[in-house]
Amino acid sequence: MKTRVKFLVLSLAIALLMGVGSAWAEIRIGLMCPLTGSWASEGQDMRDIVLLMADEVNAAGGINGQKVTVLVEDDGGDPRTAVSAANRLATRDITAVIGTYGSSITEAAQGIYDDFGIIQIANGATSIRLTQKGLKYFFRTSPRDDEQGRVASETIADMGYGKVAILHDNTSYARGLADETRGLLEQDNKEIVFFDALTPGERDYSTILSRLRRANPEVVFFTGYYPEAGLLLRQKSEMGWDVPFLGGDATNNPDLVSISGTSAAEGFYFLSPPVPQDLDTPQARDFLSSFNEKYGSNPGSIWAVLAGDGFLVLSEAIKATGSLDKDELAAYMHNELSIEGLTGAISFDQHGDRVGELYRLYRVDGQGNFIMQE
């Protein structure tokens, strides 16, 4: 028994040494994303985008002459799975990790990466508190919920609506955004005629729609995700009710239109960071053409594109500092980094939050296309 333990310890030590040895040969970047579970489509898009960008960098000679290796781990869209995924990645000698989608899932992994001193760039984590913990190595390319709440209440005010219904789905993200927006709208003397939640993952929302209709709002703000938004639009049009709907940034997914049907989706407004299709920058154009060449379509989800932004940020930081040292990289990203990403200009403040106005208003047109509003 004792010799067996010794042998185990010895082989572990050797494995660790070999792991460290390989660190100088290549740049190892982790990608944590939901490849299975409810958000599998987001995660698979994230993987497609990051691997594509890594391949391109490697084909052009790597970063500072070093090849980039991306290690992908599945977090299942679930905090518990995310913890073990983070532990697996953290012990594999990575410089930084990109991901993940979902604030609660990101939060579960945050502490682990910080303990290991690994830079994390989250792509779909908008909860405010993630950057309020003083974590030195945490960044995000996604905007924050309070920013979205502000834009939402301004948009509703600009559209001239006075009686607003707010519907969320009890997830911490949607609930937070709903509360934030309600507070701002009430300050603005708007009347909140309805504030309640639906249960995500169901199919039948006709009950909640009849209740909404009875409240007689001028506009409905739905802060949840696209599958439910699609069903709401579809069942709303079946009811023959034509109140305008405004969605939060989690409704920005082309599948929304296929779920609701084109005619039911027409006129739906939502807030979102701009997709590369709407940005006339060389970065966005190049990315779109290579993505199209490899996968034959435009990327589906804005959140997956923000993972690509995470990759751009990292490669720029490594290139500029010429170092893989976490403190040098973090200091550079906090203070100096300023690049044109796939979703516009990117730089970070001292908390690791992305700086600048990011949200745009989109409207779905008669063909089911998402049109950015000026």
Binding site: S38, S41, T199, R203, I208, L231, E238, S258, I259, G300
Partner: protein, 301 residues
Amino acid sequence: MEFFFEQLINGLAVGGIYALIALGYTMVYGVMRLINFAHGDLFTIGSYLGMTILATWAVAEYLGPFAGILLLITMVMFLVGIIGVILERVAYRPVRQADRLSAVVSALGASIFFSNLVMLIWGPRFRVYPDDILPRITLNILGLDVPLLRILVLLTSLSLMGILYFFVQKTKTGTAIRAVAIDHGASRLMGINVNRIISLVFLIGPALGGAAGVMIGLYYGQVNFTMGWSYGLKAFIAAVLGGIGNIPGAMLGGLLLGVIEALGAAFISTAWKDGIAFIVLILILIFRPTGLLGERVADKV
């Protein structure tokens, strides 16, 4: 009042689907004392198969919408039934004599296997049924606007349940199913082929789940690989509510759960919809631990 009846119809339509799925749980539990956790995923497979058949063979175009849909549902029921039989052979029969826990673990494993299989075959994104199969007519019944499809879903569920009830109560094979549910050993002594009856139950239960899957797809349009989980859970609750192992119980439990959910959401709070449904479940189980129509037998297990 109009609002009340509107919600009642909403609840009955959703409840009819719950009831159809619940029948699969309750039948399998009745004859094997096993909760078939993979049942919700068989329901998912049914809705995906329906989508694929509809998209590739265009059954609705040759036969007209209603006959086409009827054929589609029959085909999907048959296919999902076959999958159910294979599932029993592969995952449950080898552990039938083993500890109860082994069968439960095997069922959970089968559930994870099926939902990932669906993801690998059809992909993780939401998939959508063709939109224009059935005419979207809204009927006006006593001043209520009711979509025709909603009534058809309810009627199809009710008639499938009726056929099943007749089959189990009035035919010789049905009698054999009921006998096996009471005692495997004694049924075998009476000359009943127990293995065949169990296979039959695994043909019928999943077939009904598959039919529910197609109806969900046709009515709501959207399917994804994780949907079996929430519907399976609700249907399981419906089966327990009505008295698990009892066929009319599953029907009653399903319809009741749908109505409680709809009325709770409409008159109390939509956010508390599931909470209300579970409170009702707990209350019923406190006063009737075997469920509404469950037999009062202490040593049922």
